[in-house]
């Protein structure tokens, strides 16, 4: 079965370790991720101003591409892309005045009124494939791997685009359980990594990371699972800064959820591109005999 797929810019460069294991895993599960044609950057940070329509144009254009291809659903792997695309889609669905303005501005494109649904790959795994089926396909259970289920912001906020209950999400816990890992739930599961603040204060980003890592560590996690390349960068960089500054700080490896998926499905580690991860995820995997 074929799924319309929106990658996002970073997945083509620094976050190939998010994309490539997903493509390979879905193939193993009998699905094909079909990259939409002529896609452009979604804009990453959703505009929060009521009168700002120009920043809705980029995400809507991508939704138009999906509509043109005759597909009704589009899958993303990046949590930020999901958020921005889904919120722009809501505007096109629910706000007639803005919809008309945007459609008439984009007069070179067919009209769009929110007919495509935007979903995250985790939702496909939960709602279409199902945790039970997924766990049956696991060839290399991630036994004895204690992983903190870190959601960050954009999978859960705001509520109208959240993929799960904002206060008590279970989707990552269930995902990790299906792969045979031990999910670690911790209070800072949805605390912001600092997001775009890394641009104005690159090393100051470590203050956000400290709270998240300390919380995950104190709840017994050995690693963190991620769905977003910006979380990956901010937490990875923050962790490096902290380790340099503070001898007592202990960080932990971070994995994209798709890397854990590929690993558990028994795929070769070459699709996971661990060399792009921050820290040293491979040592942990070797210690757990999940990697030779």
């Amino acid at each position: 079965m074929s799924l319309a797929y929106y990658p996002g810019c970073t997945l083509k460069t620094k976050a190939r370790n998010l994309e490539e294991p997903a493509v390979a895993s879905l193939e193993a599960l009998g699905y094909e991720l079909e990259e939409i044609t002529r896609w452009n950057c979604c804009g990453a940070a959703y505009s929060l101003a009521d009168d700002d329509l120009i920043h809705q144009v980029a995400p809507v254009r991508n939704l138009v591409r999906v509509k043109e291809s005759g597909m009704s659903q589009m899958v993303t792997l990046c949590a930020v892309c999901l958020n921005t695309l889904k919120r722009a889609n809501l505007v096109m669905k629910a706000d007639e005045e803005k919809r008309n303005t945007i459609n008439s501005f984009m007069d070179e494109e067919p009209d769009y009124d929110g007919e495509v649904s935007v979903v995250h790959l985790l939702e496909v795994l939960r709602d279409e494939i199902g945790w039970e089926t997924l766990s049956e396909k696991v060839r290399r259970p991630l036994h004895d791997l204690r992983i903190a289920a870190y959601y960050g912001c954009t999978l859960l906020r705001p509520k109208d685009v959240a993929i799960d209950d904002e206060a008590n999400p279970t989707i990552l816990r269930d995902f990790l359980t299906a792969l045979g890992a031990t999910p670690v739930e911790f209070p800072e599961f949805a605390r912001c990594c600092g997001s775009y603040q890394v641009m104005s204060d690159p090393d100051g980003i470590s203050e956000y990371a400290r709270v998240i890592f300390d919380s995950a560590l104190s709840h017994g996690a050995e690693a963190l699972v991620l769905t977003c390349p910006l979380c990956d960068y901010d937490l990875g960089r923050g962790q490096q800064v902290l380790m340099k500054k503070d001898n007592s700080f202990r960080g932990m490896p971070m994995f994209y959820f798709t890397q854990l998926l590929a690993l558990a499905l028994g795929l070769g580690s070459e699709v996971c591109h661990f060399e792009l991860n921050h820290g040293d995820p491979e040592s942990l995997l070797r210690a757990k005999k999940l990697l030779s």
Binding site: C153, Y196, Q197, S200, V211, C228, D232
Partner: protein, 135 residues
């Protein structure tokens, strides 16, 4: 912090612009501080998120302009989802940022980002940073 409050100030264009851009009724806030308590950036701010609302509705835009708070907000919406009054502070932060950015004054200048950072930062950070810090 001592501030001078007057009805003339609260009727300033600044207040109506913030209301208009954010779509928020500034009078909804009852200053409980839940936003500040949930804000992951609060420790890095000089004025707390709660105070921003109060200053905004009193029309004290100079005080807000001197503060780095709105530029320290990461738009994570922790305030928004936890507000007992259903008030969306993230949209007020954005409105105040835009009032500066729309006068063609950038908070971060692309040319000031070091060559090393331009290579290191992932595209997602560059795009979102420019969205929030340049006009």
């Amino acid at each position: 912090m001592a501030v001078t409050v007057s009805p003339k100030r609260t009727r300033r264009r600044f207040v109506s612009k913030v209301r208009e851009l954010s779509g928020q009724n500034l009078q909804l806030c009852y200053q409980c501080g839940m936003c500040a308590g949930n804000c992951p950036s609060a420790g890095r701010m000089d004025i707390s998120p709660r105070q921003i609302i109060e200053l905004a509705r009193l029309g004290l835009d100079e005080e807000i302009a001197e503060s780095k708070t709105v530029w320290t907000c990461a738009s994570c919406l922790a305030c928004t989802v936890n507000c007992p009054r259903g008030f969306d502070l993230s949209k007020v932060m954005e409105a105040i940022r835009l009032l500066t950015l729309r006068t063609n004054r950038d908070h971060v200048r692309p040319e000031d980002i070091s060559q090393q950072e331009r290579c290191d930062l992932p595209q997602i950070a560059m795009v979102s940073g420019f969205r929030k810090f340049t006009g």
